[in-house]
Amino acid sequence: MRGTLAVYQKELATYFRSPIAYFVVAVFLLGTGYFFLYNILLSGDATMAGTFQSMGILLLSVVPLLSMRLFAGEHSGGTIELLMTLPLGPWQVVLGKYLGAVTILLVITAGTLVDLVPLYLFGNPETLTILAGYIGFVLLGMACLAIGQLCSALTQNQIIAAMLTAAVLLGLWFVGHLQSFQSPASALRGLFAYLSFSLHFVDFIQGLVRSEAVVFYGLVCAVALALNAAYLEWRR
């Protein structure tokens, strides 16, 4: 536990002492603010639905920037040799790093709460729907970060890590569209729908916190992190 906590605190210090975290937070909040204004002014409804949809897509572009350095950065900085020879199990390294990245996600999420101020001042939004949207956004972000961290462990180059993450996340975001193709195998269509990050997220945006969706995102996190830890051990 102490080792995980030490890695976590080191990760946070590294994020906040480098420009990356500030840049990512700023880009995300500016983007969210823009889409919020655009959606509100376009529809005139006091709802976050359109903004959440945009936040999901923005997340796909900032997660690779956040996660690319998690392991690939340790390789380029020469610190992977330290990390893997300290008295830390692979799980402690993986969890410490992951929790650090999730903390940045939570900071980003907290930053978007500012959009709610005009919503509540000038409208009458549905609080539970908004809450469900935020739960979905955090779960989506956690799943994206777990995949990004795994991709970062698979390569020693941060740019390749970011591109690999972006490709995988885009694939998982749009895979749901494949179910509309004329496919003879309905099981395959079901699988495409189940794997879709966006279809599960839409449920949350509509105010539905379905256990199936929660389990899905949780499963993605668990599988990606387990593969990450197993890969670190295997690489030895």
Binding site: R2, G3, L5, A6, V7, Q9, K10, A13, T14, R17, S18, G77, G78, T79, I80, E81, L82, L83, M84, T85, L86, P87, L88, G89, R236
Partner: protein, 331 residues
């Protein structure tokens, strides 16, 4: 009636133990069947040309990579299965100091100390101890990316010393340091080595002679020799050379030298282009008394200006071993 008890002389097991260790990357074998031990209170030098397998071996001992065959034990732990438990007993400075550039020195060392399970209350004192030993107090609060190469190397060494590990693995620890810093670092290693096990790889051969009790020579992933610097010298040089500077006629001088028991060959050349004194380069057998017999034979009839014994340097020993092993990589 008393039972005869044989005194059980149990010496402590070596802190670093390599048993027939090999490392393969695909079809390429980088380390072949390597076996050696490093005991407590020993500083062992690891010598070899670039690409000899030094860093790969260090990494296997540190637990960064696992051996393909054979067994690596550190402080009794099998590094294939118990590397995390063993890591508490190891301080490791890789070839490139593993530093987080954005952190300041204190934050970096605190992170390593916490992971190495230094008790929270003991961390400040522990940081002070390693900072003093490595002379990094002036940069203690500075961000690592602002440090000079010498300070980076020393912060890396400080990190390895944290938690007072039993085993210290240092890959080129004096690279990038100025002569004063090299001296200080050697002192730190020597002091540490007096009651710990230290394995250090180096290109600087005099360094190995100065601070290592034993030297291992590795080439193409194979251990060519491991012995004390003096032992290696004895093994390589069955003969030594004696150089004389004498004013004498060449023919009688050569005859007089060859008449001395123990002198095998004599080469003569003029000491200066102007003529006069001669330099006699004699190859002699390794035994006592040969030099004084030469001196007696020469100093009587002629003027002997200089007599010196040439011993093999670690450089020449190293090159001799590497030459013996052959230039090309093994199949």
């Amino acid at each position: 009636m008393g039972r005869a008890v044989s005194p059980a002389v149990t010496s402590p097991p070596p802190l670093i133990q390599l048993e027939s260790v090999s490392k393969r990357y695909g079809s390429r074998t980088v380390v072949h069947d390597l076996s050696f031990d490093v005991g407590k209170g020993e500083v062992v030098g690891f010598l070899g040309p670039n690409g000899a397998g030094k860093t790969t071996t260090m990494r296997m001992i540190a637990g960064y990579s696992a051996a393909t065959a054979g067994r690596v034990r550190v402080a009794g732990y099998d590094m294939a299965t118990d590397n995390v438990a063993a890591a508490r007993r190891i301080g490791y400075l890789p070839e490139r100091p593993p530093l987080y550039d954005t952190l300041d020195v204190a934050a970096y060392l605190r992170f390593v100390a916490r992971v190495k399970r230094v008790p929270r209350s003991a961390i400040p004192a522990e940081l002070d101890r390693v900072a003093a030993a490595c002379r990094i107090e002036p940069v203690f609060r500075r961000e690592i990316y602002k440090l000079s190469r010498g300070y980076r190397q020393r912060v890396g060494l400080a990190q390895a010393l944290l938690g007072a590990p039993d085993v210290l693995l240092l890959d080129e620890p004096t690279a990038g340091l100025d002569p004063g810093q090299i001296q200080e670092t050697r002192e730190v290693i020597r002091a540490f080595g007096s009651d710990h096990a230290v394995l250090l790889s180096t290109h600087i051969l005099p360094e190995a002679t100065l601070i290592c009790r034993r030297v291992a020579i590795i080439h193409h992933g194979r251990l060519l020799a491991i012995d004390s610097p003096a032992g290696l010298q004895r093994a390589v040089e069955e003969t030594e050379r004696v150089i004389l500077e004498v004013t004498a006629p060449p023919g009688p001088l050569r005859d007089a030298l060859l008449a001395v028991d123990g002198v095998s060959t004599v080469e003569l050349r003029p000491a200066s282009p102007a003529g006069g004194a001669l330099i006699a380069d004699c190859r002699i057998e390794r035994r006592d008394g040969v030099e004084s017999a030469i001196a007696r034979a020469v100093a009587g009839p002629w003027d002997l200006h200089r007599l010196e014994r040439q011993q093999a340097t670690l450089e020449s020993i190293f090159l001799r071993y590497v030459d013996r092993a052959g230039g090309g990589p093994p199949a």
